[in-house]
Symmetry: C2
Subunit: 267 residues, 2 copies
């Protein structure tokens, strides 16, 4: 039974996609069969692992449609997740891609009963084929992110070492608590991950101090430093491990993978 | 008749809020009466100009409700924009704040007729009181951003000098084109603003080259450099001009204001 981990934060540009891609690639390198699911219509996770977006026909949304109560009436051909999972050039790393259909998803499912459980249902048929499933979310607390939080076993919260990123944390933790109380009682917080840390900046150090003060038991030991190789790698369509394995970014994300494995008592 | 300029980009963390706050403050310093409208539930623009979020009772959403066809039935007391505009500590700079109500707005107005025009109507009664109205948007192309694009005279597109930010540009320009064809034929592109430029980084230079190659007539001459004073200023609740007027960030945004004034033939 694979573990489903979701990356969520409504603040934009905090490193959700960078973490999803590079954590998934690190787990894959450690021989865990890993599925990266791109639930963001921007499709950054898909292009960041080298998938050509114009060739993607179906996304996770086509699989979710299959579980709508009145799907017989819709002329869209429902699709099983198994049938649209793509291999990447990276061993043990697979992708369930995103495409433009996702942009209209939230408005289309808003009146459906059981709308928060569609992604969970879509992933149920593949969860046993993988050791880890990593969900990348868009910068929002809308229905797609709620679907991801409902499908997940745990959530990683990337927090950029900046002031605005700190502000939104309380609201995100509140949304997670609501999901735990209603839609997904088993949802745990895997951890708060500090990203784009730059030790030369006073602000970076203040944010780290603040996060440790308020949430110390939730914060990962691993801190991801600001590292240009992390932002260059996606332009070559590859995780940083394939682009520059000796870079600080690659080392940070490999450490994060190992810290998560240790915490979950996996070899 | 004040000019309404909206900041839009569905990619997160590209500098929409930083541009909205600091452009508005620069225009205010040049003696133009300026209103900053925070349409993002994250309320970063509101806190970035020193407004205490817990004290905000009404947001732009309460004003939009006033224009719903069946507002008599709703028990929410509609509110006029004039009545909730706040002064900031910065001369000539006013704020229409955000609050949590905005988070539910898109789902609540999705079935209303004329739903895209609600913000335009709400701002019509104050547009003559200001020289400029600057709208900050959330990282999404949902109904609130569509409302902002429909209300605006022009749109500024901040593009971070990073690979993922470049990818989303075509989709955003397509959305703008759709708004111009249907909802707001007068909408112009004020310009594409390159942000967080770091001349030492190869990637930064590649992105600048690429944007100039494809969109040269749309790109502002002003480029906003990466500058820590810009990210420190919001933690003190002030625009960078008030925090450190000699910083590169303050100079960049003042230049942007002057470039926009010149383009619009204003003194
Ligand atoms: N540690 C890092 N060092 C340097 N650059 C980074 C780092 N992490 C992420 N980046 C870059 O910062 C930008 C924002 O990161 P990313 O796109 O992963 O954030 P996100 O939270 O997924 O954004 P969105 O909210 O739009 O989905 C990207 O251009 C990425 O390449
Ligand atoms: N030129 C710059 N130099 C350094 N830091 C910057 C610059 N512009 C913005 N920042 C910082 O980068 C982060 C992202 O910027 P900002 O929040 O303005 O982006 P945004 O597009 O409004 O994000 P969102 O998509 O979440 O609304 C913030 O922490 C901000 O302080
Ligand atoms: Mg992302
Ligand atoms: Mg913002």
């Amino acid at each position: 039974m694979g573990k489903i981990i979701c990356l969520a934060n409504q603040k934009g540009g905090v490193g959700k996609t960078t973490t999803a891609i590079n954590l998934a690639a690190s787990l894959a390198t450690l021989e865990y069969k890993t599925l990266l699911v791109d639930t963001d219509p921007q499709a950054n996770a898909s292009s960041g692992v080298g998938i050509e977006l114009t060739e993607v026909e179906d996304s996770i949304y086509s699989c979710m449609l299959e579980y709508l109560p009145d799907v017989e009436e819709s002329d869209e051909e429902p699709v099983a997740a198994k049938d649209i999972i793509l291999e990447t050039e990276f061993p043990n790393l697979y992708l369930l891609p995103s495409n433009d259909d996702l942009a209209g998803a939230e408005v289309e499912i808003v009146d459906e009963t059981g709308r928060e459980f569609l992604m969970k249902k879509a992933l149920e048929e593949v969860v046993d084929d993988f050791d880890f499933i990593i969900l990348d979310c868009s910068p929002s607390l809308g229905l797609l992110t709620i679907n991801s939080l409902t499908a997940a076993d745990s959530v990683i919260i990337p927090v950029q070492c900046e002031y605005f990123a700190l502000e939104g944390l309380a609201k995100l933790l509140n949304t997670i608590r609501l999901v735990q109380q209603g839609l997904n009682p088993n949802l745990e917080i895997e951890g708060i991950l500090l990203t784009m840390y730059d030790r030369r900046l006073n602000l970076s150090n203040l944010v780290i101090e603040d996060v440790h003060k308020h949430f110390q038991h939730l914060v990962f030991e691993t801190v991801v430093h600001r590292n240009t190789r992390l932002s260059e790698a996606p332009s070559f369509g590859m995780p940083v491990l394939a682009f520059d394995a000796k870079s600080k970014g690659a080392v940070n994300y490999m450490n994060l993978a190992k810290e998560i494995l240790k915490k979950n008592e996996m070899p």
